[in-house]
């Protein structure tokens, strides 16, 4: 997740890169899959040529959240030659994103994917000001009325995360798992809880220790976090950070196991890699582009808070491949749990679920909705640590 990045230095950086973007002018937009008029003719009347823009907060080659967006955009371009894809990366979460959206519209874009959490308010305002352009936001959640040309999309990230928790629970010898996270946003809380609940399915006594870094990517803090967890007996690490190499390298050096997030990083630590969650946005992007192309966006599922899930077969966050140390018995159990989640009436958070303090979060038999899970404020029993209180 690339999200809120508080702090003055970030703002300074943002201002600087904004200035650089201005200097670079139109060259910040790079186009691929050109849509010549002849190409449009061959595309047929049902799918008229369209220009689509993708905006990323980080580098499109970060082998993480932003690269997943870029890969998705390229899949769209590859699938349908009548779609002209514009991309802009390293766009900070401030007024620069408005300028970037405007340049894309000037270049003919009729659909814009704003892929970072902090773009939300800019994206919504831009949609209102530009009724002829559809703007969709990745990871946001709008409570209230949707403008006819605005939507959000996301996936139930906690589903594959809970499967990773199962792999961790099966692998741990000490019964202690470690979770390094950045900020106590709802998605991270759901991921932490889902990870612990997954682990408990394989090892009811497994506990998850939390360390917060207050940064999406601060390798030194991540290293201290990983070292602190490993030194006190944790033998499986996972995380919700933008950059995951530090934690993986720390696990590798300590011969511990690791569950990844954002992308498949098995190559970094083949011996320690259990599994992880990896983004695959291609079908979501293609479906949204298709909906806009056919002129049916307003009123569609994407003109709302769209959330993909295993149950609907369209979760953009998928289970990454298993590492070699995961036994076939464990793999079978995890795949069975995945298959179960794909059926209606199941949830990672199916009751009974109890908070740390013993209060009942969901009673037995309760299947919470996505909105409920997305607003969980408590850590489940088995998680050791507290959430930052403001």
């Amino acid at each position: 997740m690339t999200h809120l990045r508080p702090g003055g230095r970030r703002r300074l950086l943002a201002a600087a890169s904004g200035a650089l973007a201005l200097l670079a002018g139109g060259t910040t937009l790079s186009a691929c899959s050109s849509s010549s008029t002849s190409g449009a003719a061959s595309a047929g009347a049902s799918t008229p040529a369209i220009t689509v823009g993708f905006i990323m907060v980080g580098s499109r080659s970060d082998e993480g959240y932003n690269q997943a967006v870029y890969d998705g955009s390229q899949a769209v371009a590859k699938k349908d030659p009548s779609v002209k894809v514009l991309t802009a990366d390293n766009i900070p979460e401030n007024n620069s994103v408005v300028q970037t959206m405007q340049s894309m519209v000037n270049a003919g874009a009729k659909l814009i994917f704003a892929s970072s959490y902090g773009y939300f308010s800019y994206a919504e305002a831009f949609a209102k000001a530009n009724p002829n352009v559809v703007v969709v936001h990745q990871g946001g959640f709008l409570t209230g009325t949707f403008p006819p040309n605005f939507g959000t999309y996301w996936g139930q990230a906690f589903e594959p995360v809970s499967l990773g928790g199962m792999a961790a629970g099966a692998a741990t010898v000490s019964g202690k798992l470690g979770f390094v996270y950045a900020f106590p946003i709802s998605q991270s809380i759901a991921n932490i809880d889902a990870f612990e609940l997954g682990a408990q399915q394989m090892n009811p006594a497994a506990t998850t220790y939390l360390v917060n870094t207050s940064s999406w990517c601060d390798p030194l803090k991540q290293k201290e976090a990983a070292s602190a967890l490993l030194s006190q007996g944790v033998d499986v690490l996972t995380q919700h950070q933008d950059c995951q190499a530090t934690v993986i390298e720390a696990a590798k050096a300590a011969n511990a196991k690791v569950v990844g997030y954002h992308y498949d990083a098995e190559a970094l630590d083949p011996a320690g890699w259990l599994t992880g969650s990896a983004w695959d946005w291609s079908s979501v992007y293609e479906n949204i582009v298709g909906t806009v192309q056919s002129g049916k966006f307003t009123g569609s599922v994407y003109n709302a808070n769209w959330v993909g899930s295993f149950a609907t077969g369209d979760n953009p966050l998928t289970l990454a491949p298993f590492g070699s140390s995961v036994s076939s018995d464990t793999q079978t159990k995890i795949l069975a749990a995945e298959a179960l989640l794909k059926e209606p009436g199941h949830s990672v958070f199916a009751g009974p679920v109890t908070c740390q303090d013993g209060t009942v979060l969901y009673a037995a038999g309760v299947i919470p909705t996505y909105d409920q899970i997305n607003s969980i404020k408590c850590l489940v029993k088995g998680v050791v640590g507290t959430l930052p209180q403001s």
Binding site: S214, P219, S231, A245, E249, Q389
Partner: protein
């Protein structure tokens, strides 16, 4: 291993990434030039070390190349400030932004690559000392380089003619000129050497301790190094204290959480800064009067 030991071990490892750049900055500031680009020199060092480390397979080569990369950005800062007489603060920021941009562009292909890091070397004998041994004498070689540099900088600064000339350059360059010295050359050398040490500090991150490369991976610790020098009143032993205190407090914030102890997160985040500032202000109170005069002039001009 208990939490206290882990906080101290992690503190020495992480603190070294601040100590070595801070010693470099101390050398530069003693000659009368402040380098806010220390952060950028660290970034350049981190990427160059990672690049050379992965290409040659030797993290040692990485450290040397990292030092050279830091030095080259230092040389740029020296040229702008010493030769072209540019504003020191502005030039430092330019160096930082330049290094940030250059390393972000060239660093892309190194993200999520693996390097064989510097090995942990247990010092024979000393590392067996109960309790203190593993804390102080079981690290990568750059940690020991940090120890040596503190002593070396102190001896050179206060016990040699070179150190006297360096300090004189920072106080009254005209006196150095009158005695046949070359203040300009001394400043260029001091700034470049200081930036080389910043590059080694970056290498401690990328091939010594966290063992990977990511954009902007120094996360502001170069500025911490500059601040430590200021609050340490330009004294090597106080720089050591400040850098390690910062490192230990940073590690403590993680250790406390990893043991499930509930302490306000925002207090933990502020801890390294609070502890270091309080300690250095208390111990090195004479700071402002000890500022090299040339430095004070440079900073006043900037306001």
């Amino acid at each position: 291993m208990n939490g206290v030991e882990q906080a101290l071990i992690g503190g020495v490892d992480g603190g070294t990434a601040i100590l070595i750049p801070a010693l470099g900055e101390l050398i530069g500031e003693r000659s009368g030039v402040v380098n806010l680009g220390t952060e950028g020199c660290m970034l350049a060092g981190a990427l160059a070390a990672f690049d050379a480390g992965t290409t040659t397979g030797s993290a040692w080569v990485g450290v040397l190349v990292g030092a050279a990369a830091g030095a080259s950005f230092g040389l740029l800062h020296a040229w702008m400030t010493v030769i072209r007489r540019a504003d020191q603060l502005a030039s430092g920021l330019v160096v930082w932004f330049l290094a940030l941009g250059v390393t972000s562009v060239f660093g892309v292909s190194y993200i999520n690559k693996s390097v064989v890091p510097l090995p942990t070397l247990a010092v024979p004998g000393l590392s067996r000392i109960p309790w203190a041994g593993p804390i102080l004498f079981k690290h990568d070689a750059l940690v020991y380089l940090g120890y040596l540099l503190v002593a070396l900088v102190w001896v050179v600064l206060y016990r040699t003619r070179i150190g006297l000339t360096l300090r004189a350059t920072g106080e009254r360059p005209e006196v150095v000129t009158a005695t046949g010295g070359h203040p300009v050359r001394i400043q260029i050398l001091a700034v470049t050497l200081g930036a080389a040490l910043a590059g080694i500090g970056g290498a401690q991150l990328s091939v010594g301790y966290v063992d990977n490369w990511f954009n902007d991976m120094t996360s502001g610790y170069g500025f911490v190094a500059v601040a430590v020098v200021l609050f340490a009143a330009w004294r090597p032993a106080m720089v050591l204290l400040g850098a390690y205190l910062f490192g230990v407090a940073l590690a403590t914030a993680s250790v406390v959480q990893a043991h499930g102890v509930a302490i306000n997160q925002y207090l933990l985040d502020a801890l390294p800064y609070l502890v270091t500032l309080t300690a250095l202000v208390a111990v090195a109170r004479r700071g402002s009067r000890q500022a090299p005069e040339g430095l004070r002039r440079a900073l006043t001009h900037s306001v």
